[in-house]
């Protein structure tokens, strides 16, 4: 039977493999615009149109497309003209990382008039993790937001992301969107046991599977311990991980890797490996893990830097400022409660993975290994790979294409280590691409926390003492464990003034999927507890919770003090917390949203606030180079990665401002270890304030170079020379930048400047969130009637983008507040390894949030800017819990607030009330 299919007006006749879905068939034909988000029909990233009807191509048997006409996002534009929907997604910037965009475009462009009136239903089955959907709604409705600022005027305006045209046409190249000749595929065999020693592994049957090239086990792995977490200083994380270990410590840990011609053969190889395990006792509760006699998960020596390996304590901090005992004695009201946060998955739509291949180093002529990875940290990954395999840096290049979302999850080396092992041994290119289920049990999660807060205050609402006991469950490995724990008790406690403060915090090993870096880095978990406690304290004092905050938060010029010690390089270099609180006050004053509540529903309102340092402690480094090109345009080289955070746009804007030009005249090369000396990475909200500052310094220096050179070249007084969009004005005469380049070139002058920033000192950014909710007491359903957010981002570089960051953060936090939870069973095994079991917020779930920026300008950040990427998440869960408390009278201490749990709590509360009355 001959097969024929038409794709974007081109004919193909390759027979699909048995059981092959249309998604992989299309990608194998080079249509990389078709994305893999889940391969289960849940996320819609793979949507294509078959004979004009949109379908999820991951579920569509390729054989059934026989004789049909398929349109992918690459075929949406006709005769060089964008489809109107593509143009609208540019006009409203309806994307961040853009990985979901093709699916939204292929769906939205097929909606009829009736479907357009019901977007919640029509967009069911298309997930976006970045935007919070407001930008997508505006796109579909044809709202225009993106601006084209004049020369030199880009900073503070809202030009679109430079990758926009590529994103909407499906031509932006993400990690796996390339063809590599002779590429082999890797699949991982994972542990079925929570804790076991591998006694033997028989790979012979696996090696007999046709197409299998090699099987790697712990015998092949270097005998070195490291951490999958990536930090500027590797000593921040314990060295407790091997590429492949002879002990497995959680269900899902990798045991062996099979490399084969196809993914199918590699999977079959994994099934044929015979492993003999000696099962070991395990522990999944962090409190039990710390007790004497608990199984020791990492019996390792001090060289691993595990704080108390014998007690499974990966890291801990204890400290007291003053005497909390005295403070509580002085208090009129003391409140104490224990709060819990659940495991949450980052759920970036592009899964983890990398493609490893070989190329000739153009400079040295020597062969080197190239790792194209879905990573936030290309430079730190290169460093780790060089350490692991004893390779000099010039033999390894790490590059990130466009990254399909990160949220902290990709500040980790989860695939590169083992893919490089295989590539080095086989001297063949190797790809390892995680499946969606592997994201849940084989990657990392947000750290689940248990936080006990005790807070005391005098009758007039002045805090006397604040005490935390924090237990963070780091899972089977300590990647980010100690650092998350330290950060969690920093700004959360430091933002409040209290004479007596005490912290006991533990990061604890358990036999479950490891936790790692996640947006907010521990701060959100403790903020949930503290802000809930402050709200409850205000109620008990009979004081407006806003007034309680105003009486006790630190002011401008004050230092953030905590029992874990003051961080010397942290300064409040601009203060917008008062404005963030005023946003809440204003919202309350004009609010009429309670009228929207259905009859019989309970209505309440509440808010919370948070503070965050504008960068990680201990230095965060960025190099940048800006140069003038032969055609009179500019080129930025910068190390940080773009995964929808929008830093590329901001770097263009900063450079356009410094050089008096427009953003379209500036190209950016990024996230490649070849382009600059070093970059710590795109984490810790550093893209604008650290890399942006390095870019600014480079651009300013280049402006100076160009002006000085041109003044001399045109024999004009230096003070009469200024930069125009594409030329230099010399006392009324213009010299084109092309001419300037040529003149410099002929004199052997390179017009290029470097910038560097070390990430210190750091400032503090603030956020507030307010909700009004309605709760149906008979079903547990909660409706958000109004959502208002205050953000102190210093001088806002790009209001449209920054608003998008806030909206996306609020949406991700609402997911964690309302329903997201990675559940594990009694053996620590993840039971929610799919989007149909792990509910991500969909279009219908997320209300519009009003975003109000503070009018501040920071003395440290570039051009007055502060970070605003992790922090919008943090005040959302406690604000929601406080509003829920106001509506129901019940203090909920554990997210998510699912309808069944809320209904149950209300029913129990009523029953208790009835029995109390009796």
């Amino acid at each position: 039977m001959s097969y024929a299919i038409r794709v974007n007006e081109q004919d193909f006749d390759a027979e699909p493999r048995p059981g092959q879905c249309l998604r992989t068939y299309l990608r194998e034909r080079g249509w990389f615009g078709v994305k893999k988000g889940c391969d289960a029909g849940d996320c819609g990233a793979c949507t294509v149109q078959v004979d004009g009807e949109p379908v999820h191509s991951c579920l569509y048997p390729a054989v059934r497309a026989e004789g049909r006409s398929v349109t992918t996002v690459e075929g949406l534009a006709k005769d060089g003209e964008l489809h109107p929907m593509q143009q609208r997604f540019l006009d409203a910037q309806g994307f961040q990382c853009g990985f979901c965009t093709a699916g939204f475009l292929m769906t939205a462009s097929a909606l009829d008039a009736e479907q357009l009136t019901d977007l919640p239903r029509s967009l069911k089955g298309n997930l976006c993790r970045c935007t919070g959907y407001r930008a997508i709604e505006d796109s579909i409705r044809g709202v225009k937001h993106a601006e084209e600022p004049c020369a030199g005027q880009a900073v503070g305006r809202s030009p679109g992301a430079p990758a926009g045209p590529l994103v909407v046409t499906g031509t932006a190249r993400y990690t796996f969107d390339l063809e590599v000749e002779g590429l082999l595929n890797m699949k991982l065999l994972r542990s079925p046991h929570p804790h076991a020693r591998i006694l033997s592994i028989d790979t012979s049957a696996a090696l007999r599977v046709p197409g299998v090239h090699a099987v790697f086990t712990h015998h092949d792995a270097p005998d070195k311990l490291y951490s999958s977490a990536r930090h500027e200083h590797p000593t921040e994380d314990p060295d407790d991980t091997r590429v492949l270990d002879d002990v497995v410590r959680f269900v899902g840990q990798r045991v062996a890797a099979v490399v084969a011609d196809s993914e199918g053969a590699a999977e079959e190889g994994c099934r044929r490996i015979v492993v003999e395990y000696e099962e070991l006792p395990y522990v999944v509760d962090p409190e039990l893990a710390m007790l004497p006699g608990a199984p020791v998960i990492h019996p390792k020596g001090p060289e691993s830097r595990i704080f108390r390996a014998e007690n499974n304590v990966c890291g801990e901090v204890h400290g007291e400022l003053g005497s909390v005992e005295q403070g509580f004695a002085e208090a009129d009201v003391v409140y104490e409660e224990t709060f819990r946060t659940q495991r949450v998955q980052h759920a970036s739509l592009e899964t983890h993975g990398c493609v490893v291949y070989f190329e000739e180093n153009e400079e040295s002529g020597e062969e080197r290994i190239v790792v194209r990875s879905s990573t936030q940290v290309p430079f730190l990954t290169r460093r780790a790979l060089c350490d692991l395999y004893d390779l000099p840096p010039e033999r390894v290049r790490v590059v990130a294409g466009r990254v399909g979302g990160g949220f902290g999850g990709k500040q980790e080396m989860l695939t590169e280590d083992i893919a490089v092992l295989a590539a080095l041994k086989l001297h063949r290119p190797v790809k390892l691409e995680f499946t969606r289920p592997e994201q849940f049990y084989g990657a990392t999660t947000r750290h689940p926390f248990t936080v006990t807060v005790k807070v005391g205050a005098t009758r007039d609402g002045i805090l006397t003492a604040l005490k935390f006991r924090v237990v963070a469950n780091t899972g089977a490995y300590g990647n980010h464990g100690p650092a998350v724990m330290f950060h969690s008790v920093g700004e959360s406690m430091g933002v409040y003034r209290a004479p007596h403060k005490k912290v006991n915090a533990y990061s604890v090993y358990t036999n479950a999927v490891p936790a790692g870096a996640f947006r907010g880095y521990g701060l959100g978990q403790v903020t949930f507890a503290v802000e809930s406690a402050m709200d409850e304290l205000a109620r008990r004092l009979g004081i407006d919770p806003l007034v309680l905050r105003e009486k006790n938060v630190i002011g401008p010029g004050e230092h953030m003090e905590g029992p874990a010690g003051e961080e010397e390089d942290l300064h409040i270099a601009s203060y917008g917390l008062d404005q963030c609180l005023q946003v809440v006050r204003d919202a309350l004053a004009d609010d009429r949203s309670a009228e929207l509540a259905p009859e019989g529903w309970l209505v309440g309102q509440g808010f919370a606030m948070s503070a965050i340092a504008t960068g990680p402690p201990g230095g965060h480094f960025a190099d940048a180079t800006v140069k003038l090109m032969e055609d009179g345009t500019y080129d930025i080289a910068v190390g940080t990665a773009e995964f929808g955070n929008g830093t590329t746009t901001v770097h263009q804007q900063i450079t356009a401002g410094a050089l008096g030009t427009t953003v379209d005249r500036i190209a950016v090369r990024q996230s490649d270890t070849d382009v600059v000396g070093h970059d710590t990475g795109a984490f810790g909200s550093a893209g604008t304030v650290v890399a942006g500052k390095a870019v600014m310094k480079a651009a300013n220096a280049l402006a100076e170079q160009i002006l000085s050179f041109t003044a001399e070249y045109a024999r004009t007084q230096r003070s009469l020379v200024r930069l125009l969009a594409d030329a230099v004005e010399c006392d009324g005469r213009t010299v084109s930048l092309k001419e300037v380049f040529e003149a410099a070139h002929s004199k052997g002058v390179l017009l290029a400047a470097d910038g560097h920033w070390g990430g210190t000192p750091r400032s503090v950014a603030f956020n507030s969130q307010w909700f009004r909710l309605a709760v149906d007491p008979d079903t547990g359903e909660i409706r958000i009637l109004r959502s208002v957010h205050g953000a102190d981002a210093g001088r806002v570089m790009n209001p449209l983008q920054c608003r998008g960051q806030v909206e996306g953060g609020v949406a991700q936090a609402l997911g964690a507040t309302l329903f997201e939870q990675v559940l594990v069973d009694g053996r620590g095994e993840v039971t929610t390894a799919a989007f149909r079991r792990y509910r991500l917020p969909a279009y219908a779930d997320i209300p519009r949030t009003e975003v109000h920026f503070s009018r501040t300008s920071d003395a440290i950040g570039p051009l007055g800017a502060k970070s605003m990427s992790e922090s919008p998440f943090n005040p959302v869960p406690p604000a929601f819990a406080n509003a829920l408390r106001d509506a129901t009278g019940i203090r909920f201490t554990e997210a998510p607030f699912l309808r069944d749990k809320v209904w149950q709590a209300l029913a129990d509360h009523r029953a208790r009330g009835a029995s109390d009355a009796a």
């Binding site: 409706r783 209300p847 309808r899």
Partner: protein, 287 residues
């Protein structure tokens, strides 16, 4: 996976064989145990057919999109129930273009809305075994537990027939989910017999299998509550991540009462004005 075969030809059923309907479940998870797919897509079965006695025969291969679009005669008072049940899918409407009616039944998950539809309208399954012999079983008896049904090895669901009498009766529909537009945690349907006025309430999603409870005309609230509660054994309230059993039971009993009131009111009277003030469907979007 080794091959895909066309179901129009007969093969000896082997271990590792599976019928391929729309593929929306089979392709959504790894199926390492499956060696051959027997593809039903070229059978040419007529998706929907109104029989001489005005019953509706739905082929197993009928897609959800076909079922949704099929013009339902105005004489069928139950017509709105089809769209309500199509919309009760967790999946996107785009999946409707591939997912089949039969696939949803054979998957036999508690939240399968085509099971709810067909059980509530007292459908009968036509099954065909490997030898080609046919048997019938009522939809409510076809699904026997969460993910379990009465199909024998290699046996095929050919079609489901919904009887004319039930199609002519009014229905009422309620669905609860933990999430907006989410997977059903409870799905309750009432069907009024147009001839004798009796009421049948079908409970699904909250229970491991569909449960039908019959009432003589105009039952009172206590009777409905008691009978529905007794019809579901305590261990039959479904317990998974999509809802606590106690909440599912509560929502089921609440909806059963709303449905009783709605169908007790005269036809054409909008439920919101006639029934309990809270009885408007609660699964409206949150925005």
């Amino acid at each position: 996976m080794q091959e895909v075969r066309d179901a129009r030809r007969h093969y000896v059923w082997l271990p590792g064989d599976a019928w391929l309907g729309g593929g929306t479940y089979l392709f959504s998870e790894p199926q390492p145990h499956i060696r051959r797919l027997i593809d039903l897509s070229r059978t040419g079965w007529e998706p929907l057919r109104i029989t001489a006695d005005d019953s509706l025969e739905i082929a197993a291969t009928c897609t959800i999109a076909q079922l949704s679009r099929f013009p339902k005669p105005a004489r069928w008072a139950a017509a709105p129930l089809f769209e309500q049940c199509c919309r009760a899918f967790l999946a996107s409407w785009k999946i409707w273009n591939m997912a089949t009616f039969g696939g949803n039944l054979c998957n036999s998950l508690p939240a399968g809305p085509m099971i709810s539809l067909a059980a509530a309208l007292d459908g009968t399954c036509l099954l065909r075994d490997q030898a080609g012999s046919m048997r019938t079983v009522r939809v409510a008896d076809f699904v026997v537990g969460a993910g379990r049904n009465v199909l024998q090895r290699g046996e095929l669901l050919r079609s489901v027939t919904l009887p004319a009498r039930v199609l002519a009766g009014r229905t009422a529909f309620r669905q609860a989910s933990l999430y907006g537009l989410g997977r059903s945690g409870a799905l309750v349907i009432g069907a009024l017999d147009p001839v004798d006025g009796s009421l049948t309430i079908t409970v699904s999603a909250s229970t491991v299998r569909p449960v039908r409870v019959w009432f003589p005309p105009s039952p009172n609230a206590a009777a409905v509550r008691e009978a529905v509660d007794q019809a579901v054994a305590p261990d039959e309230w479904f317990d998974d991540i999509h809802g606590l059993p106690a909440w599912r039971r509560h929502m089921t009993l609440r909806y059963a009462e709303e449905i009783r009131r709605e169908l007790a009111a005269p036809a054409g009277c909008a439920p919101a004005s006639c029934a309990h003030p809270d009885s408007a469907p609660t699964e409206e979007a949150g925005r």
